[in-house]
Amino acid sequence: MTLWSCIRSWLVSAFRRPRMEGEMDSELRFHIESYAEDLARGGVPREEAMRRARMEFGGIENVKEEAREARGLSLFDTLQQDFRFGLRMLRRSPGFTAVAVLTLALGIGANTAIFSVVYGVLLDPLPYQDAGRLVLLNETTPKVGVVSVSYPNFLDWRSQSREFSEMAAVHGASFNLAGVAQPETVNGGAVSPNFLSVLGVRPFLGRDFDATEEKAGAAPVILLSYSLWQTHFGADPNAVGRTIMLDGRGYTIIGVLPANFRWPDKTDVLEPIGVWATQGSGATERGERGDMVVLARLAASASLPQACSEMEGIAARLAKEYPASNDQFGVALQPIREAFVNDMRPAILSLFGAVMFVLLIACANVANLLLVRGAGRTREIALRIALGATRGRVIRQMVTESCLLALLGGALGLFLAFAGIRGMTRLLPMGMLSGATVELNGVVLFFAVVMVAVAAFIFGVAPAVRSTKPDVQMHLKEGGAAAGTGVAQNRLRGAFVVAELALSLILLAGAGLMMKSLHLLLSVSPGFEPARVLTMEMDLRTAQYDKDPAIRNFWQQVLDRVSGLPGVQSAAVGTVVPLTDNHSRGDITIEGMPLPKPGSFPHPDIHIVSAGYISTLGMPLLRGRTFTETDNETAPQVAMINAMLARQFFPNGDAVGKRFMFGHPSATNAPQWLNIVGVVGDTKLYGLANAARLEVYVPFRQSPPSHMNLLVKSGVDPVALTSAIRGAVASVDKDQPVFAISTMSQLVSDSVSTRTFTLILLGLFSGLALVLAAIGIYGVISYSVAQRTRDIGIRMALGASRSDVLRDVLGLGARLTAIGLALGLAGALAATRVLSSLLYGVRSTDAITFTAVSLLLMAVALFASYLPARRATRVDPMVALRYE
């Protein structure tokens, strides 16, 4: 009852304001007039009666205000009042407002933009049922690290594990889609039939795979991705049941995946693993680790560590049982989220920390501005308190102003964030985000609102509390000029500046370390000359290429025609281009070497290349010769090895002329020896930051592969040759798709893109921080000079020299800078550790970087203090003394 009447009266007062006010007016008027009438009846003259009635009633506005408060509408009211008042105050000082809003907009905008990445990559729920219990499994070997899973091993894992309720194998697959305008490659996976149900995903149209489709010999059926269905079938619901030609073979479309389907690798189509197993793809070879990953769902009672130890046990048993293929192989488990995050996590978290610092610095700057402004407003505040406003009321008014500033800053910040997000997504290579959407969505907007509130609180409360300290009431007597000279005020401002300098130093140190490591990284030689080399992939998948001569013939014709194009210096084909994700490795046996355990054979990367490969990539030939056109199918088998393999296995420099074979020696087959004819330089196959590995090269005519990269070195910009090369390929086979077109220089820069991305943003943020900190210290020193104008004037009149004054003022700047530097260095030593995994060639505590950024910050801070200090030396003593 009472609660209800409260709410009702509050609602009434909130929504029926004008009427309430009118009623209150007439009620009070009635009172006064009735009283006046009574007085008049008692003989008081009419005019006099009215005057007395009003006087005895008391201040009518006061009564109204109290009455409003009694009714509980004060909150609404004052908020509205404060808002209007705040807007008026901000409009009256446009300079202050502009600087504060812009500063906050930069801070909030940067935060929102980075948070959109944090959310999109790290937090956005994956479109699976209970995604937290999904795990990806790979095999591991000490020689390489994480490798693919062999299908027979997967079958054993599935039958032996208890900690997983379900397991599904996913083998990478690609298909040539012909019969469209330009032949293209579609990617996807060959999956166990339960793949979608393990994920908890149902097809958007049509049916899921069924259990019988696991067996080799299954009929070719396919699930389309939503986007492939849209682009190639015009979103036709009757597409299900139709046939699509992939690799020259008809696949029946059984369904369409939902629009929000995501998988770490690009997925245009899914086929049942039985279809893949039919094609003699090594499904029965335990030693064949093609491109398979295993998806598993943790059982209800299981945990990841339990599952880890169970899988280790299973792997150890398999290694003992099948040493030839499994010796030293283990299992790696990874929550599925990690597969989507790639190596982005440390970069994203570092950047998120950095923008938080930027926002803090922005807040400190605005707090300082407010303090200075608060000092200027001391008289106004003291007056309001003297006139009966409570301190809380004045604080509330000032906090409302801060909120207004933060809101304006937030609104502008959203625009900056919108632009920033577009810029960032352009900076990142598409594959890096694994289909994550980075955008201004509801969650990101909510975050921005929270940031606005937090910012308003951080920069608003301290100055408000400080400016309304009871001692300010003294200033009413002292007069305005002395206001805000309090030691405590200056100390608070100093503290803000010190904090800004310290935070800036941390950011500068991070940016400096990133810059140094990227510089070191990019000066690492990749082992080849990336300039003016174009690369593109082709995969011969149709039935016409199932015999070696046809494959040889295709590549040879492509090479001949492309070499003849104007502008082409040389052309080559090779199976593995450095710095891409494609790898092919195998064990080798060197003639005469003592035979190790099965898991300890040399395990080089294998390149199958044409004669011009080494020269096209500009790799150094260290010994012997490169391949020639005569190293063909009829000639003796030859190979080249890289410097590392030569060093490790032929330490006397006599590799050329020695022999090795692929695989392990067997009792049944005669060894097929390859003659080593040359030694070439190492390449950074696995990224610039990673060590080189063993490599061998064999001529493509002696073992022709269907999937290769075409490399073209040109005298001009290689991208200009793209369409001519496409034309040359089409003239050999018009249905052959060409994909993954890129320059080698692009591959090199893509391989460090996470670092570049981090460096660019960190550099931007630390630059911003430095500017804000400089503005901060400039403001504080300027203000202190302005306060002490008279002081300085007197000193100069008494004979102090300009340099005395300069030293004195600079001293303040230097003190603040020194404290800021000390705190910043301590903070940076701790904070840069999070960057460790992104650094290359420098430690996170690199002394040179720390010294350099300290000097930079010191120079900027002292320069920012010098400007107002110089002004101080120009003080005319006479003017200063007359100043008040």
Binding site: E27, H31, S34, A70
Partner: protein
Amino acid sequence: MDKQLDLLQGTLDMLILKAVSLGPLHGYGVLLRIQQISKDRLEIQQGSLYPALYRLEHQGWITSEWGESENKRKAKYYRLTAAGKRRLQAETENWNRMADVIAGILGAKPEEI
């Protein structure tokens, strides 16, 4: 006329409740009735009456409606609600108990202790 007393802190609400319990009154009428019953011995700030009325209405002890006054003018009349009635009863008991206790303390003589 006796010297006027200042109202004790917090008693105005109780007096208003009592005044309107005797019949609906407009604001000025409340003032007059309290003065009449107290025989003008209480000094009431006229202005303070209205915040108190609004507070009581906000709390649901009294309600108001517009009516016509003795001098044929529109006036807002206040009336006690059922909750207000209970409230008044409770406050009255409280007050009496308090007054007893205070009077007892103030009237204590040395020999009684």
